[in-house]
Symmetry: C2
Subunit: 314 residues, 2 copies
């Protein structure tokens, strides 16, 4: 598999977006605005976006893409240079069929899905050497078909699956930065996934179990302590698996969250809308890995049990 | 204060019931059927019960009291021999005014309220020597005004507040047993309160936090383990406070619960109806006592924080 083209300064990858919800539309929309040829695979919003395009509303400036390359089958897109995977992990079973038509010999796959296990799943189906992973630190919600509301943040942390970053990570990071998306290449993607879980496990979890926005959690002394304790358990699980995260990272994350206001994490939006919640990827999988590595995780275990019941997966 | 009358085999106490919900109506209804002079203080159901009486529906036999002594002010009842307190602990602030008109020099007070702190509250207002406590192990719900549905169980565990049981506990136990209510006198009421919490803390708590009936909790491996872990934490809290409960009591309680089916604990009924939930008495107070005594209670602390938010007391 050739990666040479990724080192070409002029190269603009042809991109296929699988899972064009809020995250997929925001980031790929930015790349389309930059001039990349971006093909969006859509289901529920297909008709609306084909007709009206995409709109991103943000205090940092609105973005309207009037004409969008949108498709309702991957065969109509064909092979691309990069598959951008932003589908919910609860729909991973559909990915082999959705991605296969997009693959050429040297197509890369970048998953920005939440939680653990997604890159391993895709690597198992399509080969580890294709896989990159990205972590999105962003507050946004899809507020209607084709309309994304961006509440703040946006940084992507980008890495290769189980190896050091090379030319294609560098190219994608450069493209994102050129598109106005802060992007940083990292050498240990798995460590960064655990660092992201330090926020997602408490705040996405309590948004459902306590019916609480980020501001609600921080306003309640009991919930704020619980969020921090869940962060410390996540750090302990990561540590048991060999991923060292300093405990002060919990306080940093709590402080960082104070700027978010009454933000509803994506899991809360899904839950309130009656959609599937990523319980396996965000809570169950990290819990099982941590327990197997010998960590003591009573709160994470309790949260996972509650979410399993509330989200009707048990 | 004379207790001599309680040792008289013929003595039938005049009883005033404060808090005539499901529990108050069931037990005092049984005593009324036995021939005791029972005066019910009611608010929302006053009109209906005055007109139609009380009905208890049970597989063990229905009970209809066509004529009930029902009042909407305690002054109309006047001094009684026994005040039977079954009001929700969230309304304790109203008790001093409701009980004072019912007291004579030697009136006893029996509280069968849930959780911790109720007997201490009443002892502080009316004197420790008046106080008895009862623990009700019963499945029942008020299904409409004046109509109680009994799903099973019913035993009362009866004791004096901070002292050994004497004549009046013996008399009340004998009356309940004569009325078909199994009743046992115990020497350590506070220990029995903790033993009752071993069931109430997990099952009442998870009925709200996981939207789960007793059967739902037992059907989910994650929730069933969590219920047992919460029982073990409750036992640890009790132990730290000097109340010895064997750990096998948790398994006994889990097994006992299998006969209950899809029973909704009273807290779940309250929560779903938008009524106040006894968060302070059942979770917050036990948590604080346990933590102050040095117990490690991560799950109880988490459950209390979630319930505080869900029941809007934080």
């Amino acid at each position: 598999m050739s990666e040479r083209k990724w080192s070409d300064a002029e190269f603009r990858p042809r991109i296929g977006v699988v899972g064009a919800g809020a995250v997929g539309c925001y980031y790929a929309g930015k790349l389309a605005e930059l001039g990349c040829e971006v093909h969006f695979l859509m289901r529920s919003d297909y008709e609306h976006v084909a007709r009206h395009g995409l709109r991103i509303e943000s205090d940092e400036g609105n973005l309207a893409l009037k004409t969008v390359r949108v498709y309702n089958s991957p065969e109509m897109i064909g092979p691309v240079d990069l598959v951008f995977v932003a589908i919910k992990s609860t729909a991973n079973d559909a990915l082999p069929q959705l991605i296969a038509p997009l693959l050429g010999d040297d197509t890369a796959i970048l998953t920005v899905q939440n939680g653990l296990g997604n890159d391993e799943f895709l690597a198992g189906h399509f080969g580890a050497e294709r896989l990159m992973g990205g972590l999105c630190f962003i507050c946004l919600n899809r507020i209607s078909p084709g309309v994304i509301r961006h509440f703040g943040h946006g940084k992507i942390t980008l890495g290769e699956f189980q190896r050091a970053p090379g030319d294609r990570v560098g190219k994608m990071a450069a493209l994102f930065n050129s598109a106005g998306v802060k992007c940083e290449a990292v050498s240990d993607l798995a460590l960064e996934q655990w660092r992201k879980l330090v926020w997602n496990i408490p705040f996405n979890g309590l948004s459902i179990a306590a019916n609480a926005t980020v501001a609600d959690v921080l306003a309640s002394p009991g919930l704020a302590k619980l969020a921090r304790d869940l962060m410390l358990e996540t750090i302990a699980a990561a540590g048991a698996l060999g991923f060292a995260i300093e405990e002060s990272f919990a306080d940093f994350q709590i402080d960082r969250s104070r700027t978010m206001g009454p933000y509803k994490p994506s899991s809360m939006i899904d839950y309130l809308a009656g959609n599937a919640v990523e319980v396996q990827a965000i809570w169950q999988d990290p819990l099982e890995r941590g327990i197997n590595a010998g960590a003591s995780l009573p709160r994470l275990e309790m949260l996972t049990a509650l979410l399993g019941r509330l989200c009707k997966i048990v």
